[in-house]
Amino acid sequence: MRWMLLGPEVYTFLAALGFLGISLAGRPNSGRDHLAALCLSGVGVLLAASALSEDAILFSEVYRVDLFSQVFKLLLSVGLFLIVCICGEVREIREENRSDFFALIFFCTLAMMLLVSGNHLLTLYLSLELSSYSLYVLVSLRRARDMGVEAGIKFFLVGIFASALMLFGMAVLYAMTRTMNLNALNGALHGMMGQPLVLLGVVLTLSGFLFKLACFPFHLWVPDVYQGAANEVTAYLAAVSKLAGMAAILRFVASVGQGGADLVQVLLVFSVASMTLGNLAAITQQDLKRLLGYSTVAHAGYVLIGVLTLSASGYASVVFYALALLVMKFTAFLVVVKVAGNGTNLHINQLAGLHRRSPVLAMALMVSLFSLAGIPPTVGFTGKFLIFVAAMEKGHFALVLIAMANVLISLYYYLLVIKAAYLLEPEGETGPIAVSAPTKVLATALVGAMVLAGFYPYPFMEIAQAAVGVLP
């Protein structure tokens, strides 16, 4: 019996159940909960790392444990750990909801672990829904004003709408191929991708993943939810939950997409629309979280470029970009959480004079935004570069040019933020921001990671290539 086979999942499940118990026992103590979460998620990272080399197909081929899934599980665990690190005082979530909060993010991470291993449309659907449920609740938990519930209800309705479409697409695919197993689909769809109905089934099924990925046309919830949710929850949404979406869409498209010229066209439209709409809308934003929400939409577009190459190098670039996004987005939100000390939303003007108030945070913000904009030698540049090269290999010149024009637009609004942090002077007197030593270390480490992984990405690229090697 190989105990490590489902190690990360079972462990996360037990941890989540533990928090559920604490929550039901009803003695709120946020310090204890945070410490427990920190330890549990830290051990979870180790566990996921040690389960990296597991390989099996379980439960009559509906569940696949392979390098691809294990890499993403490791990334998810790391993401969870990082998020827990900044959840010391979640001001915007009430004391008595605090252990629910931890239970929900553990459950959500568990669902995403199931998602990255799903090898059957039903598994994918089930875990997608599961992770969304936790997020609906997490978003709605925000204390401040009415934003949380409004964001929650919008998130919820768009979400179940997307899942209804996905279900419908699955029904069509099922009717056409009479199977829902990804491996069997891969064989059955061979040569059938030209048929419009199959294409429709695939595209409709994609809607669930596109919703998760915050991609056009399911991107409209993103800015509202990012703005409305508590800062820490938004950080989780942006940094961690996107990972699972990327993994799921990769596995799905790699399984069903081969030879789908029309599918590529559809994805191309989605990609261009996401990039353009996201970047244009971000220009006008004043709320930093909302701005980052639009930037997520734009990044979903870049990710789709890698997906639509339908080539191993494209998939590998997406895996690499997933890692990059995790670090960049998390760093940006670390700054948001720390600067907005009282848990309110952060207006861009509030960043004024940040380089004096907290040089470390200013540095972290600058590097992460440069990285998001794709300025070398940061990891964001390397990721975009890999994606663009993979797309060029497949001859998508026009697409890459559009993407580059978009990168330029995005540079503009990121620069506006950096300008606020570095060049603007605050209007009133604002004291320095108290940043604890661990946070300083964390921020410095993240900056170092972004630059190092950008300048010397070779080991990560190797992992990414090995991971996509198991995809069909």
Binding site: E150, F168, A171, R178, M180, Q285
Partner: protein, 102 residues
């Protein structure tokens, strides 16, 4: 074959009418009910394909069972969000929830 057509039409009609409901209702509970209709429609489709086309009938049934379970959980969560919203806004009209935009 024709029976299949009937059931598929039923499924599609459920789905489409549900769609109409989602769009036309401004009342959150109404919208939730309409989405339930859509899910039902998809389920009927699954079961119909399953009954008339599939080589092994269990897959579609299992899917339907799962979807039902998920839909029930979804309804519960949706209702509790709606309740929370009602406590804040004293309304369950979706037009009230338009602060976040732009």
């Amino acid at each position: 074959m024709n029976s299949l057509n009937v059931y598929l039409t039923i499924g599609a009609a459920l789905f489409s009418i549900g769609l109409l409901g989602v769009l036309q209702r401004r009342n959150l509970i109404g919208m939730l009910i309409a989405v339930e209709l859509m899910l039902n429609g998809a389920n009927v489709n699954f079961m119909a394909f399953n009954r008339f086309l599939a080589p092994d009938p269990t897959v579609g049934q299992i899917i339907t069972l799962f979807v039902m379970g998920l839909a029930a959980a979804e309804a519960a969560i949706g209702l509790s969000i709606i309740l929370a919203l009602f406590r804040r806004l004293h309304s369950i009209n979706i037009e009230r929830a338009q602060q976040l935009r732009g």
